[in-house]
């Protein structure tokens, strides 16, 4: 941020002086001062375009000027000594007239509209004072379009504010939602019916000030916003950790909306995050414990009996023979409980060796004092980005959206040179045209950011590492001593030229290609670029799961899946394995999975949904889902963030509590053999006890109590209600069962209450269930929660960055087996997929309908060598696992490689790739 934007100017609003930030516009300034000034087309993240004319104010020349002239606040820069009025009759009347004319055609179908009760148009109508309809003509009507499973379309409600297309095209880069027609017949839709392509389409629901674009799954089992019981939550479908507001009713998650976080998601989510929740409401959910002893038909479902049974296993096998597998999808508290129970030496991470080492390299690189990992908001400031080995739009979609914003920095700079303010959105885009800051994508299977990329290369994973090393050498003026072909070296030089002018260069990489060496190479490149730009080294990694970072901070990097396999296979004694929220067997080679199952005496699964692993287990402990429990996830930048239960599940406990209960049983039964960590865990009754346990673990966690307020937190002596103060039907909601008012469940684990009683105003930033402010019922109420418009939340953006800088340099990387291709083999590489790569969101029916069909992509020349024809089936073998896929040609693919979709339920799981596979055409045309 430069000095100009920090400076303050004094403006006079309705006879009172205020200090506001220089360089901003009047609308932002007024909203920042908590003034109510209506608007539609302006958006804090998308700037001003002056289309709706709703934010008119009166501007006066000087003290003598009493008439003034009207100006649109969003298009008027603030200036020192400016005198304006929001209450001036002329401006007020004009704002009212604007509503009157847009209401001429509005259907007034509020009682059946999905937006009713949280409608920005309703709010602005009331705010403007328009009440009386004078228009006598007929209303215009429009045809609606089928926009797919996520977004409903009801064009009659449209007020033509242009926000939808501005978000969809300008902000998110989509091209299939457009403005059609003109005059009062403007139509926002597609050229023909069909599912919206953009992975960010769900934001239309929130961007639209009325009910044109609505959340279709929510609409299918609708209730009003004021009747949702909501909780602040964190998205678990990738490593970014976007903040969510989860709305529930009657024990089901009803919908997910954006929860503003100034440094991460801002105002926008990806569709995976918004629609990925439906696993939570699945009929298949595990609802009770199940004990199925071997060779016994008896099944126990009693919770206490189950814990008892598991305790017996510890006694029977000896504590040293109970192993555990933690999950990168589970909270740090759940993982820590499991680790405390079995001991660190018996605790493994459900990640492959390469993945585990890559993750460990990430943690070490980000702890270097010379390296800074930017938040998404900071990523948007970068002016030259190179993305290595990640198809970001699939692996970290929200980060890809930030990269798209960063690509505009060149244009913003050029516009500033001719005096165009950054918030003058239309003018900036016109001035910039398609000139962008350089974005370079180096992937194996291609990047979906190609439309904003200056250079888009496809190389094999090991070549990507070589490319990165060569680029680093080249920047340092050293010869590139790497075995890259001349044409790739030429591209190295081109990349260096593109990044040469960047003042804030950024390197993005990640673990999805399972290359620990790439993680280190990316770090060195970021240092090299920083050296050249005389700036701080900016480096960001996308990780494989929502708590990959958290798990890696707990787990020994050598305790990965292969190591576990070896331990099981080589153990002379019978073993038990406890698996936390992971479909462990799905990762494995089919033959290996069977072998290990046979070796294990007991398999204990703690999970929310059935899986191949839970079906093979003799004990299943059903646990609460993320939306039903409290926990902490550590995102890709090392930011610990707390999620809270949206509702209390009928009979399920969070995993940590079941593990603590089990440990308590164990320590009581066997006080002599219990370890210190077991005794500590046994003391944990409430979430805050777990939290304290985490903070004692090591220095990284020492400020764990700052992640979010604890359960004792109160505002004016009151908890924070999950239900709105307009919550209705508390006595009637279960009237089909009985009419008595039920006792509200108590939440002893957090400062949130499962009721409507409590303080509705201004809670701590980490504890905002949903936003509301008098007169502001839609999500636009967020203005009232921000310390400054588009800035941090009041009290600071929630979460805690826990990666302290370490003085010790990164350790020497472990030697991992080098992948060699034998004759007749191909290098299989995985490609992330937006809607079916992540296990939980892959179950969402709305998203499943949007999955593209799975194909194996290959260079046509390589295909010819292996006698593969486009569209024909190929059988792919890795160990004993086999997969049949149709062949698709892609001449940008590297030779001798085969790109496989990283589908979660694929016979060859992405965590096993890259690997050498054999292929065989099956002589059969794909359907």
């Amino acid at each position: 941020m430069n000095a100009d934007t920090q400076a303050l100017v004094t403006i006079n609003i309705d006879s009172l002086d205020y200090k506001v930030k220089a360089g901003t516009n009047l609308l932002e300034a007024c909203l920042g001062l908590a003034k109510d000034l209506p608007y539609f087309c302006w958006h804090p993240a998308m700037g001003s375009v002056g289309s709706c004319r709703q934010c008119a104010v009166q501007v006066f020349q000087d003290q003598e000027d009493t008439r003034g002239r009207m100006a649109m606040a969003c298009m008027t820069p603030v200036s020192e000594g400016m005198i304006i009025s929001l209450n001036h009759q002329q401006a007020k009347q004009f704002r009212q007239q604007c509503i009157e004319v847009i209401m001429a055609n509005h259907p007034h179908d509020c009682p059946v509209c999905e937006e009713g009760g949280e409608c920005h148009l309703q709010d602005m109508t009331l705010q403007s004072g328009h009440a009386l309809r004078r228009y006598k003509g007929a209303k215009k009507t429009y045809n609606n379009q089928d926009m797919g499973p996520c977004i409903g379309h009801e064009m009659n409600r449209c007020i033509s504010c242009y926000r939808c297309v501005r978000f969809y095209q300008d902000y998110a880069g989509g091209d299939d939602l457009v403005t059609l027609g003109s005059r009062e017949n403007v139509y926002f839709g597609r050229h023909e019916d069909g599912c919206l392509d953009s992975y960010f389409s769900g934001n239309l629901v929130e961007v639209c000030p009325t009910g044109v674009f609505y959340d279709k799954p929510f609409s299918n089992s609708f209730n009003r916003k004021w009747d949702l019981q909501s909780a602040p939550s964190i998205c678990s479908h990738c490593s970014i950790g976007c903040n969510l507001s989860v709305g529930s009713r009657q024990g089901k998650v009803k919908r997910i909306t954006n929860r503003y976080h100034g440094q991460i998601n801002g105002y926008f989510l990806c569709d995976r995050g918004r629609y990925g929740y439906s696993y939570n409401n699945s009929e298949q959910r595990l609802t009770q414990c199940e004990v199925t002893p071997e060779n016994s038909p008896m099944v126990s479902t009693d919770y206490a009996a189950t814990l008892d049974y598991v305790g017996q296993i510890f006694t029977e096998l000896g504590q040293q023979n109970v192993l555990a597998l933690g999950s990168a999808n589970a909270s740090l508290e759940d993982n820590l409980a499991l680790q405390s129970l079995v001991g660190k030496e018996n605790f493994y991470g459900a990640v492959s060796a390469h993945q585990s080492h890559a993750q460990s390299r990430v943690t070490q690189q980000l702890q270097r004092a010379t390296i800074h990992t930017p938040s998404l908001k900071q990523i948007e400031q970068a002016d030259g980005i190179i993305i290595l080995g990640e198809d970001l739009l699939h692996s970290a979609p929200r980060m890809a959206l930030s990269v798209r914003q960063a690509s505009r920095n060149l244009g913003l700079e050029q516009a500033a040179q001719v005096g165009i303010a950054s918030w003058q959105d239309e003018s900036v885009r016109i001035h910039t045209q398609d000139r962008r800051s350089p974005i370079i994508c180096v992937t194996c299977g291609g990047s979906e950011l190609a439309d904003i990329s200056a250079l888009n290369l496809q190389l094999t994973p090991s070549q990507i590492t070589s490319f990165t090393l060569a680029l680093t050498s080249h920047l340092a003026g050293q010869p590139e001593s790497h075995d890259l072909p001349a044409e790739v070296i030429a591209l190295v030089h081109q990349a260096a030229e593109l990044l040469a002018g960047a003042k804030r260069p950024l390197v993005i990489s990640g673990t999805s290609s399972n290359q620990p060496a790439l993680i280190d190479a990316a770090a060195e490149l970021s240092l090299g670029l920083a050296n050249m730009a005389q700036s701080q080294a900016w480096l960001s990694y996308s990780l494989s799961a929502s708590n990959s970072m958290g798990l890696s901070l707990l787990q020994d990097e050598a305790h990965h899946l292969e190591q576990l396999q070896q331990r099981i296979n080589s153990s002379p004694e019978p073993l038990a394995l406890m698996v936390l929220q992971t479909d462990w067997l799905a990762f494995q080679d089919a033959a290996m999975a069977t072998a290990m199952q046979q070796k294990l005496q007991h398999l204990i699964v703690i999970d929310q949904l059935p899986s191949a692993t839970s079906r093979a287990a003799d004990v299943v402990i059903a646990c609460a889902s993320l939306h039903e429990s409290e926990g902490t996830l550590v995102n890709h930048e090392g930011r610990a963030q707390r999620y809270f239960a949206a509702y209390e599940p009928a009979s399920l406990q969070p995993a940590w509590r079941s593990l603590a209960n089990l440990t308590r049983w164990l320590t009581e039964q066997q006080p002599k053999t219990s370890t210190a960590s077991q005794q500590a865990l046994a003391q944990c009754q409430h979430f805050d006890d777990m939290s304290r346990l985490v903070s004692q673990l090591n220095t990284a966690f020492k400020h764990w109590d700052q992640v979010a307020p604890n359960a004792d937190f109160r505002i004016a002596g009151m908890k924070i209600p999950r239900q709105s103060h307009r919550y209705s039907g508390r006595t009637s909601i279960y009237a089909d069962i009985d009419v008595s008012e039920r006792k509200q469940p108590l939440d002893e684990d957090s400062a949130l209450a499962f009721t409507m009683e409590g303080s509705p105003v201004n809670p701590a930033a980490a504890l905002i269930p949903q936003v509301w402010s008098p007169g502001w019922n839609s999500n636009e109420a967020i203005n009232k929660f921000q310390a400054e418009i588009d800035g941090p939340l009041k009290g600071g953006d929630p979460g805690l960055r826990i990666l302290d800088h370490q003085d010790t340099p990164p350790s020497t990387p472990a030697n991992l087996p080098i992948l060699m291709l034998n004759k007749g083999e191909l290098l299989a590489v995985s490609q992330g997929r937006m809607f079916d790569s992540e296990p939980l969101s892959a179950m969402a029916s709305a998203l499943r309908q949007r999955c593209t069909s799975a194909v194996a992509s290959i260079h046509p020349d390589t295909a010819a060598q292996f006698n593969l024809q486009e569209g024909h089936q190929v059988s792919i073998c890795l160990g004993k696992s086999q997969w049949q896929l149709p062949v698709s040609f892609d001449s940008a693919m590297p030779l001798q490689s085969l790109l496989l979709p990283a589908q979660w339920h694929a016979p060859i799981h992405a965590s096993r790739l890259p690997a050498a596979v054999t292929v065989k055409p099956t002589q059969q045309e794909a359907n």
Partner: protein, 434 residues
């Protein structure tokens, strides 16, 4: 020899086109030669001093407009000149007359403007329906290129110029210079916010000047005859000549080049006066988007200042006559229908305000109006007025309505009181019978 009708000097009575040879037989392209021999900054100053005011309607000093283009040294890279030939103002047909009959005059003017701001690409953005203009302009461009009058190395400075003809897809709003630019870029023809002005960030984000056809056609003559000659052409404060047009129930509707500042009544006289049986009720002096003036204003001089002082605008200088047998409400409704239809749909007052007005007027014209409607119409005129909208379309649309409410309010009231249009022939007939 004094030249008093420079712009129309080559226009032939038979409607045929003046070809290059005929054009050069006079002093054709000598103005350009003179311009090319000058320093571009000197040229800009020269035209500024000539006080050539934009003939598209706004009347802004052309040289001054050019001078806002940042110098090439300060902002290197391409810049553009665009001729606004999207003549769609109701009642206006002056540019068509110039382009159809003397296309080289426009091309020469365009080349002078392009050189002044160092643009090496110039566009002619032509109204979709002007087929004959398109044909004749393209022929003229081709002939000029063949003759080496356009193209590369036109002067010692190595100045190059390419002239491209673009035919519009046909929207009134494309006459608004920034909407024109968007349209030329292939985008929706929505106007742009100013600032930045096109001179700084115009076509493809580059410095751009948009000039009207008639404006550009003045340039060769100013260059050839000089500033003094040009200043002496006008009758009042303004310089040069102006193409004036008259349409409506006059005997001889048409277009004439006259000294700027010629009184209205002289122009009406050239139009042959009113047709028999009808009297002059009022007129829109400069096209459909200007305020009505009435019979009492016919002595006024048609120049920017005088007409503005009388409460209207000279606009394009092409009058539409309202006679006393035609319903002013119906005439205004017709105009409002046009403007509502031509709204680009970007800003609320225009997109939704004009159809709102159309509805109220339709009710009044059909005899379904109420007394309160008149106050509401005035209120709506204020609502869509200057400063309230994104561009000048809606404020322009309000002009004939607000002035009709001022001068012809009795007609509006009569519609409401009688529950019908008093000008409808059957009604009138019945009234006469009574």
């Amino acid at each position: 020899m004094t030249c008093t009708q420079p712009l129309s000097q080559h226009i032939k009575a038979d409607g045929s086109v003046t070809n290059l040879e005929e054009y050069q037989a006079g002093y054709g392209y000598q103005g350009l030669s003179k311009a090319l021999s000058m320093d571009p900054n000197e040229l800009v100053d020269y035209v500024k001093q000539a006080n050539l005011r934009g003939r598209g309607g706004a009347g802004f000093n052309t040289g001054l407009k050019w001078s806002f283009v940042p110098p090439l040294e300060k902002l290197p890279g391409p810049r553009y000149v665009i001729c606004n030939a999207d003549e769609m103002e109701p009642g206006t047909f002056k540019d068509r007359w110039l382009m159809e009959h003397d296309p080289h005059q426009l091309i020469e003017g365009l080349a002078i403007a392009a050189y002044a701001i160092q643009a090496e690409t110039a566009f002619i953005f032509l109204r979709a329906d002007y087929d004959l203009c398109a044909q004749r302009l393209q022929q003229a461009i081709d002939d000029a290129v063949a003759a080496g009058l356009l193209g590369s190395s036109l002067n010692a400075r190595g100045y190059n110029l390419e002239v491209l003809l673009h035919t519009s897809a046909g929207r009134y709003i494309c006459g608004e210079e920034t909407a024109l630019i968007n349209s030329l870029e292939g985008k929706r023809a929505n106007p742009r916010f100013k600032p930045p002005f096109p001179q700084v960030s115009g076509l493809f984000g580059r410095p751009t000047v948009v000039n009207n056809v008639e404006t550009l056609c003045n340039l060769p003559h100013i260059l050839h005859h000089g500033i003094d000659w040009y200043a002496n052409l006008g009758l009042g404060e303004d310089n040069g000549t102006k193409l004036y047009g008259v349409s409506g129930k006059v005997n001889n509707p048409g277009c004439w080049e006259l000294p700027i500042g010629t009184p209205v009544k002289e122009i009406l006289a050239l139009a042959g006066g009113m047709q028999s049986g009808v009297g002059l009720r009022g007129f829109l002096p400069g096209g459909g988007s200007t305020d009505f003036l009435t019979a009492e204003h016919v002595d006024l001089a048609m120049d920017y200042g005088t007409i503005q002082a009388a409460g209207s605008r000279m606009g394009t200088g092409t009058m539409i006559i309202l006679d006393d047998q035609t319903c002013p409400v119906g005439m205004v409704l017709n105009l409002i229908r046009f403007f509502a239809q031509e709204s680009c749909g970007w800003c609320t007052p225009c997109r939704n305000g004009l159809p709102f007005i159309r509805q109220v007027l339709t009710d009044i014209e059909a005899g379904n109006g109420q007394v309160a409607d008149l106050e509401q119409l005035l209120e709506l005129c204020g609502y869509i007025g200057i400063g309230n909208t994104y561009c000048a379309l809606a404020p322009g649309a309000a002009e004939p309505l607000q002035s009709a409410l001022k001068y012809f309010r009795d007609d509006f009231s009569a519609h409401i009181e009688q529950g019908c249009c008093p000008y409808d022939k059957p009604t009138r007939h019945m009234q006469e019978a009574n």
